[in-house]
Structure formats: C-alpha cells, structure tokens
Symmetry: C2
Amino acid sequence: MGRILKPETRPPATRYRPQIAPTETGVIPETVPLPDPFPLYRGGWLGAARIAYESWGRLNAARDNAILLFTGLSPSAHAAATAADPTPGWWQPMIGPALAIDTNRYFVVCVNSLGSCFGSTGPASIDPATGERYRLDFPEIAVEDIASAGFEAVRALGIERLAVVMGSSLGGSLAVAFAALHPQGARRLVSISGSAAASPFAIALRSVQREAVMRDPDWQGGHYADDKPPRNGMTVARKLGTITYRSATEWRQRFGRAPLAGLALDSDPFGPRFAVEGYLEAQAERFIRVYDPNCYLYLSRAMDRFDLAEHGGSYQAALAASGRDGGLEQALVLGVESDFLYPIHEQAAIAETLQQVGVRTRFRRLPSIQGHDAFLVDIPRFDAEIRAFLAQP
Amino acid sequence: MGRILKPETRPPATRYRPQIAPTETGVIPETVPLPDPFPLYRGGWLGAARIAYESWGRLNAARDNAILLFTGLSPSAHAAATAADPTPGWWQPMIGPALAIDTNRYFVVCVNSLGSCFGSTGPASIDPATGERYRLDFPEIAVEDIASAGFEAVRALGIERLAVVMGSSLGGSLAVAFAALHPQGARRLVSISGSAAASPFAIALRSVQREAVMRDPDWQGGHYADDKPPRNGMTVARKLGTITYRSATEWRQRFGRAPLAGLALDSDPFGPRFAVEGYLEAQAERFIRVYDPNCYLYLSRAMDRFDLAEHGGSYQAALAASGRDGGLEQALVLGVESDFLYPIHEQAAIAETLQQVGVRTRFRRLPSIQGHDAFLVDIPRFDAEIRAFLAQP
C-alpha cells in the first residue's frame, strides 16, 4: 500500500470510545492524526484530533489512484466489509473488485466525519485537557472543517492529490466544500444528492430534530449519562429524519395502508398501527443504539450553516480556483427527482456552477422513487452512472 | 334566522371549558346537543355530547341556503368575526357579505370538530359520569363521527338538507365522509386539499407528531395537569406540522437563509439562528397555548385511520348512493400542486370518484406555492374558484 502512515500509537479503546460503539458494528477503526492544532472555520481549534477511516484496494506507486469518500450525517467509515470488520458496509454493493468503485483500480478511503462518534474526534471524545468527554465544550464544527479533516487524513496516508473526491448527502456537500477549499486536492469530483447551501426547508426539518433532542429532559444540557442518553428525543428526531430520506411515492408502493404485523393495540391505543410506523421504529432503534446525541446536534447544525457562497460571495467564486488551471478536471453530479430534502435543483446548481468555472461536468437527474436515500437503495441506477464516470482513463 | 334551535341550557363555562380557552380567542361559543346516545363509528357511544358552532348570514324560510363548513385539525369554529367574537376568524377574507362565501345569500355554519377542544365535546371535556375530564377514557373518534356530528349539528339548527357541505384539509376529507354517510345531506360539495384515505407518508408524519407528545414525560399517560401540559412534545409536534403545511418553494422565497432577527446566540449555541426557525417558534407558541394535547392525539389518529374505501370496499362504492338519484348534484374539488402532505393526486382521486358516480364535478389543480395551507394564504385563487362555484343558481 505504499508508504501509508499508520497511527504511531493506537489510542486506547477507552480514550476514543464514543457513546456506545466505535462503529455501528463495534470494531475500533484505524485513525490518523490531524495537524495539531487543527484550526476551525468558525473559530477555535482542536488539539490531538484524529480521523477514523477504512480503506479498500491499494495505493499505487504514483499515489494517484486514491478516492476519498465522505459520508452522510449518520454512517461510520465502514462503507464496505474489510478484513478487520467483515460485516457489510453502508455502500457494500458499490465498493469492491470490479464493482462501480473498483478496488482493483482505485485505493478507496472512507473517513468518519470530524465531529461524528465512530472513531473520529467529536463531542463524545475525551478532552485531553480534562479527561472528560468534550460534550458542549467541543468547538463548533463546520462542513468546511469536515472537508479539510478529510483532506488532512488522506495527506497523513501519503496522498497529495486524489483521483476522486466523492460523497453523498452531507458527503455530496463535503465533496464540493473540499473542491472550494483545496482546489488542487482532487482531479475529479462526484457529488451525490448534496447541496451547496442548506435551504430553509431543510433547516426547518433539522432544527425540529435538534429541538426534539434538546427538549428531552434526559439530554441534561448535553450532560446525559452514558447509560441514559435522550432516547425519546433521539427517537423522534431519527423518525423524522427517516421520513425526509425517502419519498411518499415509495411508501405508497411499499407500505400502502398495510397494518403493522403483530399489532397489539389494546395496551397502547395511540401506538403504531400501520406498517410504515414499524419501519420508522426499526430505523430509529438502530440509530439511537449507536449515535451520540451531542455529535448529532453538532453535525446537524453544521449542515444548516453551510453556504458555499460564504467563500467569495457566490458559488462561482467559491469554485473558481478549482476550475482554473484544471485543478479539478471533471465532475459527476447526481440528483434524484423524488428527493424533497435536497431537491434536485440544488444538485443542478452545483453542476451548473462547476460547468461555469470550467470543470467538465456531467449532471444526471435520476428518476428513482426512493428520495434522498436513493443512492443506498436504487443501486443499479447509481452503479451505472458512477461506474461509467470512474471507468474513464 | 328561522327556527334555529338555541341550546336550551348553555353549559356553565367551566363545564365545557377545554384545556386553556374555549376558542383561540377565549369566547365561549354556542353549542347544540348531539343525539344522546351518539353512537361512534369504531364502537362505543357518547352521552350528552355537544357541538360548538358559529354562524353567519340567515337561514331562509325554505331552509335550503345553509353551508356547513368543516375545519382542519386545529381551528375552532371561529372562521370569521361574529357579533359575539369580533376578532378575525381563520378564513376571514372568504366569509361575509359579497365575499366568496356570500352571507347575503347563504347561511354559513362552521362546526368545531367532535373531539376537538374549542367547545365541542372531546377528551378535554368533563365526563358527566365522573365529573373529571375524559382524557384517554374518551372513546375513539373517527373522521366518520366528526362528519356525522356536523350533520346532527345542522339538523339541531333546523336544517334537513344543506345547500353545500364544505371543508379544507381534514375538513376536505370530512366533506367527502359526510357525502358517503349522508347521501341526501347536501346538494353540493366543496372539498379542498382533502384526502379519501391517509397515505403512509402522512401517517408517518402524524405518528411522529403524536410520539413527540407521548414521549414528553409531562404527558403523564394523558393525565397531565392543566397548568403543566406536555409543552415540549406539543412544540415539536406543531413545528413539524407547520413544516408539512407549507412548501420548500415558498420558504425559499419567503425566508431564504435570512438570519433570525434579534438573535442572541451566546446563551444558546443550538438555538434558532435562521428566520424560518423563528416562524416555526411563533406558530408553535400560538398553537400550544390553546390546543389540548389529548384532543390533538385523538384527531390525529382519526386522520390516520380514515379510509373512504371502508364504506363498501372502494371509493366508488362509498359515494355511489350520493350520486344515485342526484342526492349530491355538483362538486368542486380543489388541490394544490405544491402540497406534499395531501398531494394533488389525492384530490384528483376524490374528483374522479365523484365524477364516476354521476356527480357533476369540477376539479382544479391550483399552482399556489403555499402547499397544504394555501387555502388560508393564497386567497385570490381560492376566492375565484369558490365564488364561481357558489354563485351558481
């Protein structure tokens, strides 16, 4: 794998252990150190911060075959199975030998976002200065910081310039922020169901999710006990999130008005009655078992505040340097027609901007019915687009 | 006003006093008794139940000029100003002399839904059997019951057959349920932004709202104190509701990414930051001050369970009797293209069914950007359609 740096001293498991588990599957991931101090976009800095990552394939001798993959809000770096963690990852069908993201050709690195809780430094990490979790003493994290932390993580792995920076959902915004902040950082960009600036509709939805968490008395102003997180608020927040990740059309076809199996109503007159409610419950349970509530608040706020136009006054100004001198050569921008959280005009705006600054850009409106999460579900459509783009010489 | 029945004995203010206030404006409305016992669609019955109403215009001698107006989930019967309550009503620009709903011609009755808390009998009312609020001992209320309670309320006012049954949102569904249950009850129907059956998407959104209330420890299994209702849960629920009542397009134009005026962030790092969040807060505050949480749960569940096809196996079977023999002569069905809670194909299905059973039906897809709530906001468009329909001889 070339001169890939390993973390000199693997932190003790307790030190970087997030709220419940290092990844959804409980395996402690590899980490790399960020520059110390690591300055933050909205002020302040982090000391001794680390980024967790997983990787697939091999870095070639020229070190020019690396793909950096950014995730959405909730996943860990476990995008696909590894030797250390053979459980299926969140984008398992897409990453592997001869798959759309072909690990015979590419060295793929997925990072856990700075501020998240799956091995990267975040509000649930231990503050070296106090020996306690940071909680709300953690400085504000911006989308720009997560993007730059990804940049520094691949540099720590010996990669100066990526073949491709890529991401979906929040990751789709992170890939764009990466291009704005590090114009020579990648030759190609793939931005999926992302946004260049949070819309008031998405802000409204996320702010209600945060509020559900913070109004839960168990949140305790961020000082919840490890064994008593704000489960009620997190459940409501995640169910609402789940609603925004799919589409009414899909649910009409998938659930209709089917009753929930195994329904026992007598004991709970307002309890779940329809199959769709059972789905929401299962999704929420899975999430709140592993996700740290303060990390959730930090990343959710970062998404609301992101506006690419802060970098120079317009989207075009923000990406001008990437286009100039061919820093960024090519881009693929994918959006989904049924996505109402990050509606397709937001991806169109990203694509149009890239085109305007001189990046050869392919924009595709995918007719998937699965809404924002289609990239996780409607694999054939995404596979075809990404495979064709990455297969270019 | 012809032989309008007045309630023989106005209940003492405390008796039917809902959680906070009799209407949003604090005025005790007129009520009429329902038949005692009043049987309920999903089993059980209510004794000594009453329906609150307000009215405008005069019933003519033939008693054939009455409009019954059903409301959405949250409003009271105060659709427009009256002598008793001169504050503007929720549909003030639409109801009055020479307005779209012309009170020079029509006698307009708006009822507070059975199960609500603005004067009609509901979970917040006092159970005559115990002297305590019903709370969760209140029997399950269905959309069918609210429709039939409206039917009985106008009968108690001396009206056997309506000129028009009309409603918006839940009220749009109620008007359709009314036609199914009382085929000779009205000559015309106006159904606005309603649905003939709750979709899984709407069910998901409403179930999360109910859950936010029920997971608030202050809900106390329905036994909250009058001065300590589940404010946190109701706030989250109403904010989510408010999001579903409008559209992303409207909010992009109206709020964009404008900051909240008077922002004081230092004290609340995760507090509201954007103008759209201030709007949600104002909407929620206004609602939770007056709305009883248990009533909210009851009506919300009723909306989820409504399926017109329960009446005979299909929408067509449900409305066949209305079409037969010209019980229902004409219908106007209005939907809004930007409504994602009750999407326009649901109104199209209502219109198509009415047409199929022989009701002369006009269906209009309105291009308003205000989503589900457009009927409250985009007055010129709704005014034109309703005025033209009601102006017919």
